[in-house]
């Protein structure tokens, strides 16, 4: 498919579904001859869980890295919380990033720090004059929320894969971000743990009214968490709809995700 399946998404959605927190128009990104993102248009509304599907290597991780400015765009417009990303520099960018949580595909835990220090790190940087008692209680609460209470003083290297994912999640959630970006939150986990993570994502959405972009290959996770799904193919948004819409799609290519 070479044309974009959701033209003019911005205008159409603005009024009907409430506040737009992330808006992308004609996003393009290439690495040399590798044209990863060719024309991406999408919006995320306040309080919405948007699931992004796509084969490995289609540029899903690149897409959300653009949102936090880890990767610079080649072309296109990216507006986040009503701020134009391309115009943001220095402290403004840092301020915006504080409102965005990013769960890395690899976890990206600070492996020279203990579990506790991993969680304290973002807190200390952003709320510099936090009293020790408050800090401790925030850390304990965050760990409790992801079910890691007992592991507070060990090193990340000693955690299992699922525990690392949950720690990464706790570290991102501890600052109560307005926008959450999950890069494959359930990959490599057993079905039960994935289910727990999916519920956690839903809980976060409910409690903090967070808007999220969830990248996943796990259809069960997509079914549980998605308000809306976008499928990326060949660098464009090839299909969009609710889980049921896509599950009943006639397109064999879309069907292949659901098998």
């Amino acid at each position: 498919m070479s044309t974009n399946a959701i033209p003019m998404a911005l205008e159409r959605d603005d009024k009907q579904n409430g506040l737009v927190v992330v808006a992308m128009e004609h996003l393009k990104k290439s690495f040399g001859n590798n044209h990863v993102l060719q024309d991406i248009n999408l919006v995320v509304h306040k309080g919405e869980n948007l699931v992004v599907l796509g084969k490995s290597g289609t540029g899903k991780s690149v897409l959300i890295k653009c949102i936090v400015g880890l990767i610079e765009l080649d072309e296109g417009k990216l507006v986040i919380l009503e701020q134009d990303m391309s115009a943001l520099k220095g402290n403004d960018l840092i301020e915006l990033r504080k409102k965005i949580g990013f769960l890395f595909q690899s976890g990206a835990l600070y492996d020279s720090m203990t579990v506790r220090e991993n969680l304290e790190f973002p807190l200390r940087r952003q709320l510099r004059s936090l009293p020790k008692a408050k800090l401790d209680s925030l850390v304990e609460e965050a760990l409790h929320n992801v079910g890691l209470d007992t592991s507070i003083d060990i090193m990340p290297a000693e955690l299992s894969g699922g525990m690392r994912k949950r720690l990464g999640l706790a570290r991102t959630l501890i600052l109560k971000p307005e926008i959450m970006l999950y890069d494959e939150p359930t990959t490599g986990l057993d079905p039960i743990t994935s289910k727990e993570i999916s519920s956690l994502i839903l809980e976060v959405q409910k409690i903090y009214n967070t808007s999220s972009i969830i990248i996943t290959h796990d259809m069960e996770c997509a079914r549980r968490t998605a308000n809306r799904i976008i499928v990326i193919k060949d660098g464009v948004c090839a299909a969009e709809g609710s889980y049921d819409d896509l599950a009943h799609s006639k397109d064999p290519w879309i069907q292949s995700f659901f098998e």
Binding site: G57, I94, R97, F104, S106, A108, F121, P122, R125, Q126
Partner: protein, 280 residues
């Protein structure tokens, strides 16, 4: 592509082969290009350090921690090296001086060589090997595992937190380590003198202090700040800009040592020239 069944890793290898062919054809220009690109990006990195070092937030906790790790943890290695250098230098120099009937000059000669040249340079090289490679490997592995990216998205300036603190620590700690190595080296020399003679501590050190001049000590200490700065900066540069992948970590550690050692010698040559100019 002619072969559609090529999977991705095969395709990458195919590409890599084409690239290496192209590179070997144009090797002469590309090596020069690469050299200048590297110099340019290192210069930008250095400028960024000077821009960020004065800009808040000041990461004082991390600075203290790094200074401790970099300075304190190097004490045993630097101490042992210093002692051995002092000892060996003394033992080796004795016969030559004895030939000229100048054996009584032994403490003074060894002290001047240790303090002016051998202490600073050897300590800096050891420091490059231990600390420079450590910084290179640590930052590179943080880069590979996206920890630097994670810091960035959590609203921290990773350059300030990781690079500035480490470069300041090496700049401040190496001079202290050199002084420490000098002192232990002189003690080693004292032991060496006493292996085949009998000199009191008082006599030994009063001889040294009589022969030492301000021009011996001061420039030697000043240049160690530059050595420390170079080791820290090169280590951070190699780590921070490493390639993604495990092999990037090893390469970063390796180049950190190689280039930091090279920088130490270059700075040393420049420092000697400047000292000579100023003294004439």
């Amino acid at each position: 592509m002619e072969e559609p069944i090529l999977n991705q890793s095969q395709a990458e290898r195919h590409d890599a082969k084409i690239i290496s062919e192209v590179v070997s054809e144009t090797i002469s220009t590309s090596v020069i290009d690469k050299f200048f690109l590297e110099v340019a990006s290192f210069s930008i990195f250095t400028l960024r350090f000077f821009k960020d070092v004065f800009r808040p937030p000041y990461e004082l906790n991390e600075l203290a921690k790094q200074a401790f790790l970099i300075g304190y943890k190097s004490l045993p290695l630097v101490g042992i090296t210093g002692f051995i250098i002092g000892l060996v230098l003394t033992i080796q120099s004795r016969p030559t001086l004895a030939n000229f009937g100048a054996e009584s000059w032994l403490p003074a000669m060894v002290a001047v060589s240790i303090i002016r040249e051998i202490g600073p340079v050897i300590t800096a090289l050891i420091f490059a090997g231990k600390v420079g490679s450590g910084i290179g490997a640590e930052l590179a592995s943080m880069n590979v595992t996206e920890q630097i990216d994670a810091m960035q998205v959590s609203g921290t300036n990773p350059f300030n937190y990781l690079v500035v603190t480490r470069v300041l620590s090496t700049t401040l700690m190496l001079p202290l380590l050199v002084v420490y190595a000098d002192v232990i080296g002189l003690f080693g020399s004292f032991v060496g003198v006493n292996l085949s003679g009998d000199v009191t501590v008082y006599l030994f050190f009063s001889q040294i202090f009589q022969s030492l001049e301000f021009q011996d000590v001061f420039p030697a200490i000043i240049k160690t700040f530059f050595f420390g700065f170079a080791v820290g900066l090169v280590g951070c540069y190699q780590g921070y800009n490493s390639n993604k992948g495990t092999e990037g970590v090893g390469k970063a550690a390796n180049s950190a040592v190689v280039f930091a050692s090279l920088m130490v010698f270059i700075i040393d040559v420049i420092a000697v020239q400047i000292t000579n100019l100023l003294q004439n």
